[in-house]
């Protein structure tokens, strides 16, 4: 469904993403993990059209979408969310989600119904009249999810939807993400919260210093010495094994 090949993006002399490749197949939940500053968000931004890649290609459902502007990529059926939540502060939750829903229809009544349905799906049905600015962190994360979902994507790119949430909230949002996938939306997510991502994702990619260092099931990734060293430092794998 999504094929990223040898994608590179540098800022000045810093290679934020260096020859990274990944694949997402229809119906999967795929995780992208890596230590701080590994380039995960940059890779996301380059896939979703927010940064123009310096090299490499992005194909979505067979079409080359490398370097297209975000609204065209959204039109192709792929939407991202933001790690730092970006609610439209001075309008209500309903109106926030309607902005997404308007992507599919110019009709106000239809967009409103659509928005309410999506809100129900992410568990925000009771907060439709709250202002974007008044939401808690957990609710903002849900709102990010709802708005993106309202555009009707086939692939959803989620950037750290669980960061900053408490364990109960994480359990809740994991359930929401599962139900979204079960409704037919494929998901690629960046995550820091390891437990959550291992319970959710079927496959993981590990990015470190801009390079893809490992790929596999959560269990195999957890044992990969390269991954352990990336997180815990050089020599850590040997210590752990001893």
């Amino acid at each position: 469904m999504l094929e990223v090949r040898a994608l590179s993006k540098a800022f000045g002399g810093l290679k934020a993403v260096d020859q990274a490749s990944l694949d997402v197949r229809q119906g999967e939940i795929v995780g992208l993990i890596g230590p701080n500053g590994a380039g995960k968000t940059t890779l996301f931004a380059a896939i979703a059209g927010f940064h123009k890649p310096d090299a490499g290609s992005v194909r979505f459902e067979g079409k080359d979408i490398t370097g297209l502007p975000p609204h065209r990529i959204c039109g192709a059926g792929m939407v991202r969310t933001f790690q730092i939540t970006q609610p439209f502060a001075k309008i209500t939750v309903r109106e926030n989600i309607m902005v997404g829903a308007y992507f599919r229809t110019p009709d106000r009544a239809l967009a409103m119904r659509e928005a309410e349905a999506v809100a129900e799906m992410v568990g925000m049905g009771g907060q439709l009249d709250q202002m974007g600015a008044d939401l808690t962190v957990a609710a903002r994360k849900r709102l990010e999810l709802a708005r993106a979902l309202a555009t009707g994507p086939r692939l959803l790119l989620l950037d750290e939807v669980m960061a900053g949430l408490n364990p109960t909230e994480i359990v809740e949002i994991v359930g929401v993400i599962r139900s979204i996938r079960d409704a037919g939306v494929t998901i690629l997510l960046i995550e820091h919260v390891m437990q959550a991502v291992t319970s959710l994702a079927e496959r993981l990619y590990v990015l470190n210093q801009g390079r893809m260092i490992a790929e596999g099931t959560p269990a195999s990734i957890a044992e990969d010495p390269q991954v352990i060293e990336a997180y815990l430092g050089h020599g850590a794998a040997k210590v752990l094994r001893a």
Partner: protein
Amino acid sequence: MNRTTVLCALGLVAAVVFPLAAPNYLVNIGMLVFFVAFLGQSWNISGGFAGQTSFGHVVFFGTGAYTSTILQVTWGWNPWVAWPAAMLMGAIVGWGIAFLSFRAGLRGSYFALITLAFAEVFRILANSVPFTRGGLGMLIKSDPRPINFQFKDPIWLYYIALALCVVSLVVAWQLTRNRFGARLVAIRENEDAARALGIDVFAEKVRVLTLSGAMCAAGGTFYAQKYLYIDPSIAFGVDKSVEMLLVTMVGGAGTIFGPLIGSIALTTINEVTRGVASVVPALKNVQPLSLVVYGVMLVLIVARLPDGLTGLFRRKPRHA
């Protein structure tokens, strides 16, 4: 029918009946209130709803005023025909400025400053090119017949201003309930999020400034027909830009009635201070006193009522 609808209907009836009973002096003030509210609304659509603050909206006003006046004086067009042509010209200038500025990625205060620069360029051009007669300005021959968009009785210009204001209110009201308006608000609130949700931010911003330019240019023609004279500093002077921005900020940017409420408030202050200044000897030399009051008011509004006077009436959203 809810309360707002009833209030609107009552307000409209009052506005229609008012000049039939009021002296000419008050009819003129009423005309100015609606006219400035209309100009403010043209600013509000791009500056308030879409958040693209402009310091140089007068560029559209002047474009409209000059387009219709030149067509009329130099080419012998009828002013009613020249009016839509002026709006078209305003739309073209709006499109051009938006295209250049937004293509260059100007946002926020940079965009505001570039619009100011455009207005100044137009003022200097109007001062120097031959077809505007430079600093001499242009005089429209007085011939008060309705076919010439000139009237003996001020009540007609009052009604035209009222009609313009009502049309602009309808445009703003539509923006609160259609897709284009929702997208503008999304762009104002957060451009990146708007882009991620499939909005072509550049195209929408160009579109809104085109619309705003056309509206503002219509105001320019109205002004020229009312005073029958324009020159570069009237048509492209920075004070008109400030006026449009001020009434909107005072009334409430991004709200339907903000510009109208702001226009009523500022016109009232203007008239009252003028009265006070002519009575109190100590204030005789403070000229014009209204600017002092405007300044104080703007400070208070920015500090205490960021949503403008409309913020006073709006019920606070419920916190669940």
